[in-house]
């Protein structure tokens, strides 16, 4: 059970570019040292994402409809569960949670809204595609989104 305070079980939300480069890693309720660990967690989850995508035999994401984008549980570690989602342009979204009771419907709706926030954000002409996301307002949106799953 959670022994550190987290925002309703969303411990980390991350965006990784199609080249597997991390663009945004946001942790909630963890110390700076521990935050680094989540970079690692996300990184190792990428291997699992690759495997999942292999089984789709190279067809582009989203071909099977919106539900096709949700990749499901990628890795359960001792303390956390990592869920993945891929956008139509091969950016990957991750949700790391320590909430053992989290409902799949909530995870999917989190990803839908996270995806929507990302889509709006990339329309900012000042953002260069596939670079680190430093926008304060995108960050605020993600924090607000995470809070709403209390």
């Amino acid at each position: 059970h959670p022994h550190r305070p987290t925002l309703m079980g969303v411990t980390c939300a991350a965006v990784v570019g199609k080249g597997n480069n991390p663009l945004y890693v946001r942790t909630f309720g963890v110390s700076e040292d521990e935050a680094l660990r989540f970079h690692f967690v996300v990184h190792t989850s990428l291997d699992v994402v690759e495997e999942r995508l292999q089984t789709r035999k190279g067809s582009p994401p989203g071909v099977g409809g919106l539900s096709d984008l949700y990749l499901g549980l990628l890795c359960p570690t001792d303390d956390y569960k990592v869920y993945g989602y891929i956008t139509n342009t091969n950016a990957k979204l991750f949700l790391v949670t320590d909430d053992i009771d989290i409902k799949e419907a909530d995870i999917k709706s989190f990803f839908r809204r996270f995806h929507a926030a990302f889509v709006d954000f990339v329309c900012n002409p000042f953002y260069s595609m596939d670079t680190a996301i430093t926008s304060a307002s995108f960050d605020r949106e993600v924090v607000q989104l995470a809070r709403s799953y209390q």
Binding site: D120, F121, C123, N124, P125, F126, S135, S137
Partner: protein, 184 residues
């Protein structure tokens, strides 16, 4: 001669309804990419501001005839009337919403046009170091061009900008000269 013609209040939305529509996001993304290109090509933020204004000016000169043709508006009897028609009917027709006028100078040679929506700047977040960029400066140019076509010479500048944290957009319009024969 624009002195004939009546203002049809009932067709307030009529002129807008007659215009062909495109997706507003296309406008935002096109304009944004365009501003980024200018930022790459021109040496200073000030030169980008000027270029945007110049482009807007050329647009403004042209759209006046379209406005009168589609809106059914007649001539405006004075500067105050012109400003109101431009803000309410003109903005409505081309931008899809009405702007408003306030802060008239006592001698009626300056006013502020204000609005909260701005499709040019949707999705935009100005990064650090861009506080002197007037991202939507094309609008100042458009206003200057529109008024020039009506023989009113003005200078316009943004005095409030939502992209810089203000609650609405405000453009200050200073009238330099009214070419008299228009209103003889």
């Amino acid at each position: 001669d624009f002195s004939q013609g009546k203002r049809d209040m009932s067709s307030k939305g009529g002129a807008y309804a007659k215009m062909e529509k495109i997706n507003a996001e296309l406008l935002s993304v096109t304009y944004g990419t365009f501003v980024m290109q200018l930022l790459k090509d021109l040496p200073t933020l000030e030169s980008v501001n000027s270029k945007l204004e110049e482009i807007g000016y050329n647009m403004g000169l042209r759209i006046v005839d379209e406005f009168f043709a589609k809106s059914g508006e007649g001539g405006c009897k004075d500067v105050e009337d012109t400003a109101e028609v431009m803000a309410k009917r003109g903005f409505k027709m081309f931008m899809g919403f009405e702007a408003d006028i306030k802060d008239w100078a006592e001698n009626k040679m300056a006013f502020t046009i204000f609005f909260t929506l701005n499709p040019f700047a949707d999705f935009v977040e100005l990064p650090e170091g861009y506080s002197t960029l007037h991202y939507s400066n094309v609008l100042c140019g458009i206003i200057r061009g529109v008024l020039k076509a009506l023989n009113i010479l003005v200078k316009c500048k943004f005095i409030r900008d939502v992209l810089k944290g203000d609650s609405q957009y405000e453009i200050r319009v200073d009238i330099e000269e009214i070419l008299q024969d228009k209103y003889a």
